[in-house]
């Protein structure tokens, strides 16, 4: 068994090495016809760009993705510089007509995306040409290796029960060197995904056939991300099933997040695209889905007929009716730990890191400031977006809606939710985004704290203050601080993962939905001690 486990690790690492190595393979070159098509498709008016691109990337040999991408970007920059120079020239000549004419030649948008689009057409080599083999050596070996590593735990972990032996003695899970490597890998991955998609074009080739079979379109980096996300969640869900096989709540919860991720976040949106409908994840609620009210999205939905309208109505109803009602009855866990994709990744890939979240009072303060700031940010931004949409003005009180949206997308959507949110799993625990950043969690939290039937009940005086609950709370709640006083835990940040209850050695904690009366029960004296309570009360 141990041998299987170890060989699994080796196979996984080989797969990982192939995966990383794939980035550096292949050569990139366009034919003149391909370039023509691209320029016509994009409708560039620049007279320089075609020449520049043609010099840079047409009929080239041995251009790897990095040189290719830098050449493409130089070409676009040269084109734009050319017209910038003309603009400056006409400006000094005060030839306003000519100056004005130049702007149409400038090419706007993210250069990295253009470089990605070109690279996607230009690649030849291992990943685009031997996709099946390349997929097997990367994804295939990764999956097989990971499963071989995980499945022997059925035997190796021994009898069902709490399996946290050695967690703080292991360099992977105690912020040791393996944790730091995982951190660097994850952060790099997210930076590439969000800001250098052209560098990972070879990975995108690997999932092209899958994308085509679902949506008929070639894969984008987002399809790659979606596929990888589902794969990682599935493999790590197997680990959850084994680790928590004594605990039905964990098993069902894991199955649920896995289902919603694969079906709602991955398959349905891609199938919608196949039928020329807008890409939409029906469970992704605003304000986590922060661009729902952006002009481009509303325009697209309104242009998609009844179905688009349905999505629009559903999106609004989901946020203002479904979400609060469900939180009233079940707590925010129904979303955060049973449905949400971010939560899903945190509860599968992130489970080995849950103990790393900080429990200090200071971090609780920081948490409340940041998460509520993000909520205000998203609401103000959405206000701007809706104002812009209905009024047609592209700015409010002198601030451009687009600028605000770009800042949010960059800082919150990419850096916070992605790079920090997931990249920092091995350092700050698995719910960094959910705890400090997610505006939807902040909104659900208000309802959970002030109007909900959900609580974690503390079982009288049984707590022995051991601290397992607090340690394994991914949201950094000091559960023990409540339990040892005999108080129920009613906290806006609790995502109801149920692990505090699972790891408690004395059966002290139970997640339940009960009457609102007595849900919050500050206790002066613990159960079992027959003090004269009326005397205490009268003294006050």
């Amino acid at each position: 068994m141990k041998l299987i486990k170890q060989s699994g690790l080796v196979i996984f690492l080989i797969g990982l090495a192939f995966f990383i190595g794939t980035i550096f393979t292949g050569s990139f070159s366009l034919t003149p016809q391909e370039l023509d098509t691209f320029i016509i498709e994009k409708g560039y008016k620049s007279e320089v760009i075609k020449d520049e691109l043609s010099k840079a990337i047409v009929n080239k040999e041995n251009l790897n993705i990095f040189t290719f991408s830098s050449k493409v970007i130089t070409a676009f920059e040269t084109s734009n510089k050319h017209y910038d120079a003309l603009i400056a020239k006409y400006n000094t000549e005060k030839n306003w007509t000519k100056k004005g004419q130049q702007y149409q030649y400038k090419i706007s948008g993210k250069l990295r995306s253009k470089s990605f689009t070109l690279a996607k057409k230009a690649g030849k080599g291992f990943a685009p040409n031997n996709t099946a083999l390349a997929w097997f050596l990367t994804f295939g070996l990764g999956i097989i290796g990971a499963l071989l590593y995980i499945v022997p735990d059925v035997v190796l972990l021994g009898k069902p029960g709490i399996k946290n032996d050695g967690i703080f003695l292991n360099a992977a899970t105690n912020r040791g060197w393996i944790g730091w490597f995982a951190f660097i890998f994850l952060v790099t991955f997210y930076i590439l995904l969000y800001f250098y998609p052209d560098f990972i074009v070879n990975w995108v080739y690997l999932v092209d056939p899958i994308s085509k079979s679902i949506s008929r379109n070639p894969a984008s980096q987002w399809f790659l991300y979606g596929f990888l996300y589902c794969t990682v969640m599935t493999v790590m869900a197997v680990r959850m099933y084994i680790k928590y096989r004594n605990n039905k709540y964990q098993i069902l919860r894991t199955t649920s997040v896995l289902f919603f991720q694969i079906v709602f976040a991955f398959l349905i949106p891609e199938i919608l695209v196949r039928f020329d409908k807008p890409w939409y994840d029906f469970k992704n609620a605003f304000p986590l889905d922060y661009d729902f009210f952006f002009r481009w999205n509303l325009d697209e939905l309104l242009a998609s007929g009844t179905f688009g309208l349905f999505i629009l109505v559903w999106g609004v109803v989901l946020t203002i009716v479904v979400v609060p009602i469900m939180v009233y009855f079940f707590g925010k866990r129904w979303y955060c730990s049973w449905v949400c994709g971010c939560g899903g990744l945190a509860e599968t890939l992130g489970d080995p890191y849950r103990q790393l979240s900080s429990k200090t009072l200071l971090s609780w303060r920081v948490e409340r400031i940041i998460i509520h700031s993000v909520l205000i940010f998203v609401l103000v931004m959405t206000g701007f977006a809706l104002y812009t949409f209905f009024s047609g003005a592209n700015q409010v009180i002198g601030i451009k809606t687009q600028t605000i949206q770009d800042i949010y997308g960059f800082l919150i959507g990419s850096i916070f939710a992605g790079v920090i949110g997931t990249g920092f799993y091995p350092i700050f625990g698995n719910r960094v985004w959910c705890r400090f950043g997610c505006p939807l969690a902040a909104y659900l939290g208000f309802i959970q704290r002030f109007k909900s039937r959900f609580r974690i009940t503390t079982n009288g005086g049984q707590c022995i203050s051991c601290g397992n609950c607090s340690t394994y709370c991914e949201q950094g709640i000091d559960v023990r601080a409540y339990a040892q006083k005999g108080e129920n835990i009613v906290r806006s940040s609790c995502v109801g993962c149920g692990v505090c209850s699972a790891v408690c050695p004395r059966g002290v904690l139970k997640l339940e939905n009960g009457p609102e009366d007595g849900r919050i029960n500050p206790t002066e004296i613990l159960l079992g001690n027959d003090l004269d309570l009326m005397g205490l009360v009268n003294k006050k």
Partner: protein, 448 residues
């Protein structure tokens, strides 16, 4: 404003300090020779097992004490001068008090076995024991085998700790079945089997004769009393119960027996000197409780009670209905009310028992055979609500009532398989009754 000095920063002392602070502005000093900051002793095992770091065992952050103006003094009290109201420390410094609370807890029992002070022989009680274990048993290469002597709660925890690092363990238990002085045999036998399932070499009805030394003064082996067998090992865990840690009080004039003798108000024979927690011994037992209770929550309750008295609301220590809990490897155990083992129960006490055919789950309900009064319940592998049983015990409910409403008491996580129907069916069959199970009712559960 008085100066309250508390010797011992365990759960009793710290609870007293916190509640005195809540209710007064007395100056409070917590004295400890073990660690500066309070930690949860019950969690030490999880540090060795790698579930927690030592920091996680500290329920309060380090700034807490300063913020609540509770002074912490590290030092070992050598002597108490009650006439001068002064403590004398090992480093010959001293500290005056107006009121003194002794909360020094316990220490592991040693029964004068030859070799009991050798290197590698240890209890599992203090933080220093943990460090010692880490030194002598860091892994299975250094510690090729460990022998644990004494079949109680700490013994089985120590076995679990060592097994988490794959160290072979031999577990010597004096009794014929694990903890059978406390547990009914159904449960005791289930635990025996569970211990063996965890590859622990359980030796029942077995006593330690002596511990043998190697040339460096470390443990080499132990000899078994009954058979003379020699078992080679690198660590010996002595877990045969605990005694009050009160040696330093010998000449203080404070009345001692096994522990510090106290009345119901937790007062000693000397004015302004109190004792709480494991080291306190009641002159007369409270109900069916023992005179000395080395239990986490009784220490806490004594701390709560004494804090009331010291803050002007003189209060007797009245622990309510007995309850407790523990975990035997993977099996959780809770008890409410009194369930005595076969050997120590009275004639009027009888059991209703149920055991799961496959899983490690069982219950024993003890009731009065004449009045049908419910006396207590042991549950293994099933969690139960403390509030509910506390209420039922106060209301003197019958065994039939308890079974009828058993679903209200269940505290297992959601979606767990419930066994109340099977339990009740067995009772009905054995007693020729036809009790129908009531559906769980939130209203009943929270009606208090």
């Amino acid at each position: 404003m008085e100066h309250i000095v508390i010797i011992g920063n365990g759960i009793s002392g710290v609870t007293a300090a916190r509640h005195i602070r809540k209710n007064s502005d007395h100056k409070i000093t917590l004295v400890s020779a073990e660690t500066k900051y309070f930690f949860s002793r019950t969690a030490l095992m999880y540090v060795y097992m790698g579930h927690l770091t030592f920091k996680h065992t500290q329920p309060y952050e380090n700034w807490f004490w300063d913020k609540n103006s509770i002074d912490l003094k590290e030092g070992f009290v050598n002597k108490i001068h009650t006439d001068e109201k002064k403590l004398e420390f090992k480093d010959s410094s001293s500290l005056s008090y107006d009121k003194l609370i002794i909360a020094t807890g316990s220490k592991p029992n040693k029964f004068g076995w030859p070799g009991q002070d050798l290197g590698g022989v240890m209890g599992m009680y203090h933080k220093q024991d943990l460090e010692n274990l880490e030194k002598h048993a860091p892994n299975k290469e250094v510690c090729k085998r460990a022998v644990i002597v004494g079949g109680g709660l700490i013994g089985i925890e120590l076995a679990e700790m060592l097994r988490s690092r794959k160290i072979p363990v031999t577990f010597l238990v004096r009794e014929a079945s694990f903890w059978n002085g406390v547990l009914p045999s159904q449960e005791s036998e289930m635990i025996n089997k569970h211990i063996k399932d965890h590859h622990i070499d359980l030796r029942l009805s077995t006593n330690l004769k002596e511990i043998k030394s190697d040339e460096n003064g470390n443990v080499k082996s132990i000899i078994i009393e009954e058979t003379g067998e020699e078992i080679f090992c690198n660590v010996v865990g002595l877990t045969a119960g605990v005694t009050p840690n009160i040696d330093f009080l010998k000449d203080s004039g404070i009345e001692l027996k096994r522990g510090v003798l106290v009345n119901r108000f937790l007062e000693t024979n000397i004015a302004d000197v109190y004792a709480i927690g494991d080291c306190a011994e009641q002159h007369e037992a409270i109900g069916q409780r023992r005179n000395i209770e080395a239990v986490w929550y009784t220490g806490r309750m004594m701390g709560e009670t004494l804090a009331q008295s010291i803050c002007g609301n003189k209060t007797a220590y009245k622990p309510g209905h007995w309850f407790n809990s523990a975990k035997f490897l993977d099996i959780e155990y809770q008890t409410y009310g009194w369930v005595f083992s076969e050997e120590s129960k009275q004639v009027n006490e009888t059991y209703f028992q149920w055991q799961h055919p496959k899983d490690n789950k069982c219950i024993t309900i003890s009731y009065d055979v004449n009045t049908r009064k419910f006396l207590g319940i042991n549950t293994f592998g099933i969690r139960m609500r403390h509030e509910i049983f506390d209420r039922w015990l106060t209301e003197n409910q019958s065994i039939e009532f308890v079974l009828e409403y058993l679903t209200d008491a269940n505290f297992d996580p959601e979606f767990y398989k419930l066994h109340e129907a099977e339990i009740l069916a067995k009772f009905n069959q054995e007693n020729n009754t036809n009790i129908q199970l009531k559906k769980k009712s939130w209203k009943r559960i929270f009606s208090f």
